[in-house]
């Protein structure tokens, strides 16, 4: 893979990966760091990766790196909520979008990282079950059952969010 191809891939995929990381990490600096680490890791291995597997590799790598970070955070007993960055979203002209984004991020961060990845791949990356199964190295039926479980959790989370908003 030449450098131009890497640059094109970076510019095409960095936005999607960044948003995925932002949703599960809820911290801009961490999302930036993991995005950078993911693309550097990809660059080192890109010659041995098939063109058709670039996206899978990127998401899998980002997922594992994010997972490690979340584990480290949990080990330090830091909660994934109430990051200082949250204050940044409190003002600005696009408040509605930002508030909505915060609700989605809040809900997704309450799922297991693997469930959040599944949701992201299906809803935001528009991947089919077959493609998701390739990313997660699992079967399509496992993807379906995990997605159902994740959505059921989301239904509860959304209901709780609504109750909180009504208070």
């Amino acid at each position: 893979m030449n450098n131009n191809k890497f640059e094109v891939l970076l510019r095409n995929e960095s936005g999607r990966l960044y948003n995925y990381l932002l949703k599960i990490l809820r911290n801009k600096e961490d999302a930036e760091d993991i995005l950078q680490e993911t693309f550097i890791a990809f660059h080192k291995k890109m010659n041995s990766i098939k063109d058709s597997s670039y996206k899978s590799y990127l998401f899998r790598t980002a997922y594992h790196k994010a997972l490690n970070l979340i584990k480290k955070r949990n080990a330090k007993n830091k909660l994934v909520t109430n990051f200082p960055e949250m204050e940044h979203f409190a003002d600005g002209s696009t408040k509605n979008n930002e508030q909505q984004n915060e609700l989605v991020k809040d809900a997704l961060s309450k799922l297991k990282p693997e469930e959040a990845l599944l949701i992201d791949l299906q809803f935001y990356q528009k991947m089919s079950y077959k493609q998701i199964a390739e990313v997660l190295e699992t079967t399509q039926s496992a993807v379906d059952s995990k997605l159902v479980r994740a959505k059921k959790k989301l239904i509860k989370i959304i209901t709780e969010q609504k109750k909180m908003q009504e208070k």
């Binding site: 510019r11 960044y18 948003n19 950078q36 550097i40 660059h43 909505q100 609700l103 997605l147």
Partner: protein
């Protein structure tokens, strides 16, 4: 009488709204939903999640982040120290293999010539039996 609160079609509903079922299965589920209140309710719940998730508006990658990544990759690739280390390692490996090869072949040749023994299965057998002085 105990009220029915589960439906065997429920497991297929997520795949149904995601368009992941075969045409035949899709039609079968669609037909079932029209007469099953449990499934209709479940579909509404799942669609509520979908609508919620679609509220999210993609955020832009922070300015300069892509360039920062490109620079990191470029530095890694063109770092003169790393380049020198790799080149030196390869050259050293080749040289060591070459010298070791020459030493081994000349030593073996000299030994076989002096003792007038040909290297073969018998000589190796003798070697392990202790007939050779090493």
């Amino acid at each position: 009488m105990k009220q029915k609160n589960e439906c065997s079609f429920e497991k297929k509903l997520n795949a149904y709204i995601a368009g992941e079922l075969s045409e035949m299965e899709h039609n079968k589920v669609r037909e079932h939903i029209s007469s099953c209140h449990l499934c209709q309710n479940e579909i509404r719940n799942l669609q509520q999640v979908d609508n919620f998730l679609f509220q999210y508006t993609e955020e832009d990658v922070p300015a300069g982040l892509n360039e920062k990544i490109l620079n990191s990759v470029s530095n890694y690739r063109t770092n003169p120290f790393m380049k020198n280390v790799v080149s030196f390692s390869i050259a050293a490996s080749v040289l060591i293999s070459f010298v070791a090869g020459i030493m081994l072949s000349s030593g073996l040749y000299a030994e076989t010539k002096d003792s007038n023994i040909t290297i073969g299965e018998d000589s190796l057998y003798s070697y392990f039996e202790g007939d050779y002085d090493v």
